[in-house]
Amino acid sequence: MERKSDTTRSRIGVYVCHCGSNIAGVVDCQAVAAYAETLPEVVVSRHEGYLCSEPGQNRIKADIAELGIDRVVVASCSPRLHEPTFRACLSEAGLNPYLLEMANLREQCSWVHSGDPEAATRKAQDLVRAAVARARLLGARKELQVPVEPATLVMGGGVAGIQAALDLADSGYKVYLVEKAPSIGGVMAWLDKTYPTMDCSI
């Protein structure tokens, strides 16, 4: 469960990524990192050139090991791009991957407000503040494993159903091929010759 009692305090690490000049060219990353340090429960706040790089990830891992960081906020690009990267990074450092939150400074600040660095930086700080607020309440999640029945139901015994059934059956899977008519074959069985090679269908 994510709900935490108010008495427990988390130890949050905030990491602001420059993404070369993609973010740092517009957003004042140093100011964002300095601002993050003032937020409740933030233990460490840093800004780095490329967080997704190996040295970048090692920085996070080292902080988890040395400073006992138990929540990570990465302020970089879209979570749709690098959430799996940083989740894996947390896992490797022994932290549950769901204790990660990302603030999207690249797609939502630097790239879309490039003419207004001040507003972009202010927005970056707001997004980091929201991410930290959410991170405080994050909980570990376990990915459930369920067994899989190695069998397939194929609905329809036309040429597609037959081909799928054969591929699966040849690979060792059990197949139930269900056909409404008294014979398989479907539309294909009607045909004599088939294009483009004019060979027979059955």
């Binding site: 469960m1 994510e2 879209s78 749709r80 791009l81 999207n104 797609e107 939502q108 879309v112 972009a120 202010r122 707001d126 997004l127 503040r129 929201a130 991410a131 405080r136 309440l137 990915e143 459930l144 369920v146 899989v148 029945e149 190695p150 397939t152 139901l153 194929v154 609905m155 015994g157 036309g158 040429v159 597609a160 159903g161 037959i162 081909q163 799928a164 054969l166 591929d167 699966l168 059956a169 690979s171 060792g172 899977y173 059990k174 197949v175 139930y176 269900v178 409404k180 008519a181 008294p182 014979s183 398989i184 074959g185 069985a189 045909l191 004599d192 294009y195 483009p196 004019m198 059955i202």
Partner: protein
């Protein structure tokens, strides 16, 4: 076909239909209804002695009714299973006083009138939907006279006439005088590519099928005069253009234009086609001895049953919708279900086979590790708060929640079937459902943090992970500039954005709020965004009653590819934000604070119950 019939790993169930599917990916339970064959499949040698003595004649559906079969029959010579089958509706019965001739004729004694229909339950990890197509019935296109003129046939009927295994042993004949036609006209796009009658889409196979048929006709009789009336010839596949050229080279004439009408010469039974040749702008008349209507294909009637059984979606054309048109073309949005062949869209044999192998490979990929990881972002019911009202079960797009209203026992989430959209948590009137990783507390903390300072400057934007958030990313990647006041809050689905969250944003001083998600039909969680739509419309009514301007709450559907649209929506929101004064925000906060019943009212959930 024969390989499928004798494969040790394939259980072939013919005359069978899937009745129900329950469970979830990796663990589906399937109930199959199998009609009795009345002939023991494993014993029958298909000798045909039974059919020789059967006195009943029935139109042969396999040959489009162009000849007849007996009540005990083999559908076609290469049928699999190769056993005969009893058409029990037409059989006279096994009472020796009435008939029973087949039983007496069968030396192997494999006709069994005591056989009964069966219900079989099997457990499978994956499902491949390969339900195929139906042919268009050209009856409604009366100008072609399909029901009036015997020498007008469909392409399917023609296919049986020219088939060596067909009723005429492959000799194409006119049905009126049973002699080979000296001239044949093919009419394309019958029931396809029409906004008025038939289907609006291209049926994909008819152009090439006609070209094949013209070559077969010429092969049978090089002297036969063949014309093809068409809109466009779509010969786009490998080897197709060559075949088209061969057809033209063999003397087949292609006329651009579909006939407006067909008349029959009552004496000769020839057919006179009137057509505007759009290549020459001339009105032409063509006299032929036989007309073949190249009929299109359409989704079968019973597709809806399968759709509901498996919680699938269909496109406007009626075919099943894939999870992603380019990256997941053989997968359904429901995990563990795949498409093969024409169930997904009209396609020819090569494409059907290709797609079938792709579907099989995707199914194997899922089953190969023998276990699978299910979504960690799932819903959980807090049993002590649940009143078993059943709303969560109704809104769940995946049927992952069960509620027994009679026993009033709390709702149960089948975690492995839960895809994590959060619609149940948003609709629960008791706040009895926790959407893990997107809890109320977590989302409220984000809202509060965003609106902490100068809230009138901020625009909270709820964006779903798959479409609108991705649309914002696309705007970013494209460097589309927009006003800097939007603050995105990501949820997996817009279905998660409860009334409570939106009211929270207004109560904290938000001047305007945007809820955004996938377009209808694009929702990653089947139809969860329909509940978003209903919810926001409900909120607009409430806002009106409370004296708040409903337009301050906006709802937009933005796809992952619509970066430009995201930019436009951001500009609209900014424009709207500027119309809201600090006084209006303060007044809203006062109204929401004094409106005690709000939480109960907003979470009553009675409206979705009524609407569904």
């Amino acid at each position: 076909m024969a390989d499928a019939g004798r494969h040790p790993n394939i259980t072939l169930l013919t005359q069978a239909e899937v009745k129900s599917v329950s469970g979830y990916v990796g663990n589906f339970e399937v109930r199959i209804f199998k009609k009795a064959r009345y002939v023991v499949e494993s014993e029958c040698t298909a000798c045909g002695d039974c059919a020789q003595v059967c006195p009943v004649l029935v139109p042969n559906e396999f040959n489009m009714g162009l000849d007849s079969r007996r009540a005990i029959y083999q559908p076609f010579p290469q049928a699999i299973p190769s056993a005969y089958v009893m058409d029990i509706d037409h059989c006279l019965g096994h009472d020796p006083m009435v008939c029973g001739k087949c039983v007496a004729a069968c030396k192997k004694k494999c006709i069994d009138f005591n056989m009964s229909d069966e219900e079989i339950t099997v457990k499978v990890g994956t499902i491949i939907v390969a339900t195929g197509i139906e042919l268009y019935d050209p009856t409604e296109l009366d100008e072609y006279g399909y029901t009036r003129y015997e020498n007008v046939v469909t392409s399917a009927e023609f296919e049986r006439l020219i088939n060596a295994g067909g009723p005429t042993r492959g000799h194409v004949i006119r049905l009126t005088d049973r002699r080979p036609p000296k001239s044949v006209a093919f009419i394309q796009c019958v029931g396809s590519r029409s906004q008025k009658r038939g289907e609006p889409y291209c049926s994909n196979i008819c152009c090439m099928n006609t070209i094949k048929s013209t070559l077969m006709l010429k092969d049978h009789d090089p002297e036969v005069d063949v014309k093809v009336f068409y809109i466009d010839i779509r010969a786009f596949g490998k080897g197709f253009e060559d075949l088209f050229r061969r057809s033209k080279g063999s003397g087949v004439r292609f006329v651009r234009g579909l006939p407006g009408s067909i008349r029959e010469d009552p004496k000769t039974k020839d057919l006179i086609l009137t057509v505007e040749n759009t290549a020459t702008n001339q009105l032409e008349q063509h006299r032929v001895e036989m007309v073949v209507l190249a009929v299109g294909v359409k989704p079968p009637e019973d597709m809806k049953i399968v759709q509901e059984m498996l919680a699938l979606q269909r496109t406007a054309d009626g075919f099943y919708l894939e999870a992603h048109p380019k990256l997941q073309p053989v997968e359904a949005a429901t995990r563990g279900i795949f498409f093969a062949g024409c169930a997904e869209a009209p396609k020819d044999i090569k494409d059907s086979v290709t797609q079938a192998s792709a579907a099989a490979a995707r199914a194997m990929r899922l089953m190969n590790p023998r276990q699978l990881t299910v979504e960690a972002i799932t819903a959980e019911v807090l049993p002590h708060l649940c009143t078993a009202c059943g709303i969560c079960a109704r809104v769940c797009p995946f049927g992952a929640i069960t509620v027994d209203k009679r026993t009033k026992s709390p709702a149960v989430v089948t975690t492995a079937a839960c895809a994590g959209c959060g619609t149940c948590a948003a609709e629960c009137p008791q706040n009895a459902i926790v959407q893990h990783h997107f809890t109320d507390e977590q989302l409220e903390a984000q809202i509060d943090a965003i609106l902490q300072d100068e809230p009138w400057e901020q625009i909270p934007v709820f964006a779903c992970n798959w479409c609108s958030y991705a649309g914002a990313d696309f705007a970013g990647v494209s460097r589309f500039q927009y006003p800097p006041h939007a603050r995105l809050i990501r949820t997996m689905c817009s279905g998660r954005v409860s009334e409570k969250l939106v009211w929270r944003a207004f109560a904290k001083g938000a001047p305007v709020v945007l809820v955004s998600g996938c377009h209808f039909g694009d929702c990653h969680y089947l139809n969860a965004n329909h509940w978003t739509d209903r919810r926001i419309k409900r909120m607009w009514k409430k806002m009106e009653k409370m004296g708040l301007r409903p337009e301050r709450l906006q709802l937009e559907w933005i796809s992952a590819a619509e970066g430009l649209r995201f930019q436009a929506v951001m500009e609209k929101m900014e424009h709207l934000r500027r119309t809201v004064t600090p006084e209006e925000v303060a007044e809203t906060q006062r109204v929401l604070a004094s409106y005690d019943g709000l939480r109960e009212a907003s979470d009553s959930g009675s409206e979705p119950a009524e609407e569904s």
